[in-house]
Symmetry: C2
């Protein structure tokens, strides 16, 4: 096998370069000027020994971790990649490492006591529904910089980044009514208490009301932003003979389930039932028919969240609420073209 040599420490470098460890530390961090020739000797020793500073020791001594933590409830298919891409890029640009933890199901212990916190990060990005309110409060009271994503906690001034859910939902439902004459529009709710979903539902209701249509509780079901759940929900409505001529599926992922259920029942999209989603995931244009949806700037949400968090970490003022604009993307599943 391989030789488990003890990796070199700052003392080894100092010895090899004939200086004190303080001097090595200084050239490592550029914190205090070091005479050129000395600095070079140190650099050489670092190279020769292939020295890599121990993160734990630096963190402990400096009380800075230089890393940002990200807390997520789960790893979703559609949403996750672009968001993480934005976060990762922005964190790197700002010189922070990224630590990710998935808290898992609601009962999970790591929602109350996540392995990420004041002890190993300079600040936390908290995605909706990934942490218990108590723990958010504890971290906030401790003074740890915190940014919430797609979630606002009443009572604290924690910066929040989210998108214009209500507005986007309003416009796409309005489109269904005004342009395509739909009147019995289903809304598929996301996971319970999911803020995005709540706002989308509000936009849906307001669009109905603005057009003089009633809000019919029978048309509001749970799709859970999940393909299978959405498929089952729509299948069940069809089986029970519920009358509807359009589905606003809450998000694009669940639109897939809606497609499956409608096709299984022999309903044509969009002729019999128009279907629209939310997010504009990469495959949306490739569905048959191509999915009309609301574009959510997910990657930008990630970037913006890091930007605000970095401000907090630097002791600067952060934006209390950042609301990123959404845009209706008209394709064919609504009946256009």
């Amino acid at each position: 096998m391989n030789t488990p040599n003890r990796p070199p420490t700052i003392a080894d470098v100092a010895r090899q370069a004939g200086v004190s460890i303080a001097t090595v530390s200084r050239v490592l961090n550029g914190s205090t000027p070091v005479v050129g020739e000395t600095a070079e000797r140190v650099q050489e020793a670092i190279r020769a020994l292939k020295y890599v500073p121990r993160t734990a020791a630096r963190v402990l001594a400096s009380r800075r971790t230089n890393t940002i933590g990200l807390l997520l409830p789960e790893i979703s298919d559609a949403f996750f990649s672009p968001m993480l891409r934005g976060i990762e890029a922005a964190a790197r640009e700002a010189g922070f490492d990224l630590l990710i933890h998935v808290t898992g199901e609601p009962s999970s212990a790591s929602r109350a006591h996540p392995p990420l916190g004041e002890h190993n990060t300079d600040g936390l990005l908290i995605f909706t529904d990934s942490l218990e309110a108590d723990e958010i409060e504890r971290l906030h009271m401790l003074g740890l910089p915190l940014v919430l994503m797609h979630q606002s906690v009443a009572g604290y001034e924690i910066p929040t980044i989210t998108i214009e859910n209500k507005d986007g939902a309003f416009r796409i439902v309005d489109h269904l009514i005004k342009v395509h004459g739909r009147r019995r529009i289903v809304y598929l709710r996301g996971p319970e208490r999911h803020e995005d979903s709540l706002w989308r539902e509000r936009g849906y209701c307001e669009a109905l009301e603005a057009n003089g249509l009633p809000v019919d509780e029978e048309l509001i079901r749970v799709g859970a932003f999940d393909r299978q759940t959405a498929e089952a929900a729509v299948g069940e409505m069809i089986a029970r003979g519920v009358d509807f001529d359009a589905v606003f599926s809450g998000d694009d992922e669940s639109a897939l389930g809606v497609f499956t259920a409608l096709q299984a029942a022999g309903r044509r999209i969009p002729d019999d039932v128009a279907v629209v989603g939310f997010d504009d995931v990469p495959f949306a244009p490739f569905l048959a028919p191509a999915l009309t949806t609301v574009r959510a700037p997910i990657e930008q949400v990630g970037r913006e969240a890091v930007r605000q968090l970095v401000r907090l970490i630097r002791g600067e003022q952060a934006e209390a609420l950042t609301l990123l604009p959404t845009e209706v993307i008209v394709r064919n599943s609504c009946g256009c073209k």
Copy 2:
């Protein structure tokens, strides 16, 4: 704002409970038996002070980090979520935290000196093309447990996890030839030197040869596992009048670009040109026509990689090569049904 109280330390807990810090450490770690009543006093103090142990200090003192590092070249759309889901779940089950770093473009400094290594992880999962060979060697020589994903480095005995690329490619190309009579089959290569792609190309060639068909260099192009690149490649072949009746697109992501290019040129899928992919991403069944492809057990690759890494970390023997089986998923884009 909020009060930047200094978080409590082990000394605060010890004082409050009237014991030594050694005892607190022991109840924290369960390393040595502690008398029931004493242990309870300590637990109480921990709760009262909301004490959370500093990770950096534990790591420094114990020389164990209890975290696994994951190095990726980029965050791809289709591949990333399932793989990370597998890794994350397996790491959590084994009691490890997960640290992720994206090294970025080939020239990036973090490919030579990633922020993850012997100093802050117990072991590393290295995805293909995310690290320079020199750095892999340095880490390996240091004795840091390493597992390679979708990549094999000649010359070292580093465990590798990958999938049966060649076999899957062979079978899907063979299907195109035997069942659908295709003879001019395009192969779209992945990113340069990408091992998955190399093996798929080999399977493609062997299938042609096994059926007495020539390997025509004109039919082998670069799709780079990227939608736009694939679209451009196919568009250019059409413009140049290259004759072909099928495309094996290398992966599903690039199949999207193939679809776009063919549709733009008025070629019908699968009648004029059959199209098949590799991966079986979630949206594959929803394309029009539904995509025939090879299912790659991506999530399982992630789980297996963690399993082997944990073995190494525990000083156990690990599997040198794990080859996960692939399976042809027949849908409609090949011409079936």
